[in-house]
Symmetry: C2
Subunit: 433 residues, 2 copies
Amino acid sequence: MQPEGPQRLDSRDPGFAEAFATLVDARRESDEDVSRDVAAILKRVRAEGDAAVADLTSRFDGFDLDVSGWRIDAAACRTALDGLEPSLRAALELAATRIRAYHATQRPADSDRVDEAGVRLGARWRAVDAAGVYVPGGRAAYPSSVLMNAIPAKVAGVERLVMVTPTPQGIVNPLVLAAAAIAGVDEVWRIGGAQAVAALAYGTDRIAPVDVVTGPGNAWVAEAKRQLYGVVGIDMVAGPSEIVVVADGENDPAWIAADLLSQAEHDPTSQSILFTDDAAFADAVAAAVTEQLDRLQTQGVARTSWNANGAIILVEELAQAMPLVDRLAPEHLELAVADPEPLFAMVRHAGSVFLGRMTPEAVGDYVAGPNHVLPTGRRARFSSGLSVLDFMKRTSFLALDAAALGRIGPAAVALAEAEGLPAHARSVAVRLG
Amino acid sequence: MQPEGPQRLDSRDPGFAEAFATLVDARRESDEDVSRDVAAILKRVRAEGDAAVADLTSRFDGFDLDVSGWRIDAAACRTALDGLEPSLRAALELAATRIRAYHATQRPADSDRVDEAGVRLGARWRAVDAAGVYVPGGRAAYPSSVLMNAIPAKVAGVERLVMVTPTPQGIVNPLVLAAAAIAGVDEVWRIGGAQAVAALAYGTDRIAPVDVVTGPGNAWVAEAKRQLYGVVGIDMVAGPSEIVVVADGENDPAWIAADLLSQAEHDPTSQSILFTDDAAFADAVAAAVTEQLDRLQTQGVARTSWNANGAIILVEELAQAMPLVDRLAPEHLELAVADPEPLFAMVRHAGSVFLGRMTPEAVGDYVAGPNHVLPTGRRARFSSGLSVLDFMKRTSFLALDAAALGRIGPAAVALAEAEGLPAHARSVAVRLG
């Protein structure tokens, strides 16, 4: 019988390279093909607008929008906030303040200069007019997600911030409403699924269209965003959550076990991987995970995730782990050593890095400030966490006078002619006099 | 009989609002649905690798890769560069130098600070490891596109820059190879279509995978990029080119006509729109376009574009045009007035703005410095031109000590518990001691 527990790898084993490659290439994302169903929903919402949204909401959420109301008004969000237990309200407000402060540093600077050829060159950033944030109902209805998606939009300067959230059987999550109040969400609609994303992108009689849609969701929501990419801007396609912990033997095994379980409890498809250079420590962490699992309320999900996707990888020295970490390009990376700087300097691909023994990943999920919407599934190779930039766009600009055009215009004429575009050439040449 | 020529609108006409809305909503993008064919190609290249690429290249490009060679080596690019007529070479090199200088200013700054709670917070930018640039064959094989896609990647610090370009019947465009040499492209493969994008994204035995794919292409290439978004990063989905010119009556009508035609000659689906406050000037520009068209080598394309998609819109004053321009969110916007600043200050949505009478859009296509890969089809509402950022990604990082965790950790514990994620809470709580 296969013993319960995660995969154990040792970099000194002859089969290691192959086993690690299998781990890197393992797909944990759903292959459920909902693309045709989603395409049909998008088409219907585009053609029929509110009527389609109401019908689909009735069918999927068991909720009659026309009876119970389409919107949750600002007063209801404010009431939810006022009804929070004070320490929880303080925690949400601390989180919002810190997230706002971190994201304020992301606001890009405009540029405007005149170069040595006398050409004025610049770039100007502006917020999009309107953004939509998707907030799932049910198990994944997290107020922290509301803050992490909505605050960057408001810091960017988005004037109209719309939240959509399904309320199956009419049930509303007061924490989500309270977070919307804190974050400054301007409209809340009780809709979800692909139909909500379509309503945001195309607009309906009731719901004005937005320019960007962000936020987590199930396979239907993710596919709707993918199909509507280009009609609106979207954040990155998200997959199952993951953590890589690089730890030496000087850590408390119980702490590292807790960190690994904090990802494992998200979803059965989540992944937690430990790299260590200490075999005895590896065993101690494995034992601590087993022990903590037995006491964990979320043990069903966490155990499935840990046994199916977890891994403990023994390396000869921690520096040897870093190229392997780069191949995983993890969403979250903890460097649990006394001096993390040398290891951190080696990291090329990771969504977010947590430095030292006192920086558990979960502190970043809630209150530290950086965004918790991060690239998963090796996408940190090419993409970044959600930021203020996702809600802004850059307009470049140019200004020439006759002298400047005299200096660089002839080269433009030569290139346009070489490319077989005579009207391009002529628009410059007529001004060269 | 419908007179030949573009649509003429007058903002004082009672039907103006409706006619303008129709113009804004008009779709010029192909509705050709190639998604199923493209999906089949991607699946085949993923499964069969080089063999599929060779077979599809033979079928679509009439070119046998195994006989004529898969790659064009650096020496061939260098030879193409050395064979250029000297003034053309100088023009390409001036363009490259100016594009490099402009994009160097886009390199984002890292951040690293300790806030008042004692939390170290930061962000670190790194280039992607490898990027692929798609360069079309045939009519749209533009050396300027090579520079505009490749140089930002190199400025970002991309170590491996791969170009793919189809060579139907084996024909190579020497200008494209020369541009690749100037831009520092590291590999050139003689492949195109959806199969080339798939090879870049998935990798094959011959071609190592890349992390980002950019560059223009036909409907198949665009759909392949859309379907592979998430496997790799991509630049924005591109549509037909467009220009909006806002001009007063003090301009030379021939200059403005030339500017409108410089977009019209790109493609029958391109769009050129003039806003002016001077009816006589509007007539003069229309006449100048007609006259210039008769002498234009590209008159077939330009005439079709101008008659089908062009528009001349009369407004009472130019400031009145600006909210209308925002609704179009044009790729290119010329403000051809003596003092463009007040109008420019009103612009929210445009890919690139060309200020004053001496800044024809075409100078930006080639030599000014800003990127000519810009959002089309109203996407300037939410997206930006190609930049160094498209080839980089940001890793956020955090470091706390016991004191800092003591200050903000309890709030994380409270929020994790409220969200029903006890392992998250525990990973912080165990460290609070």
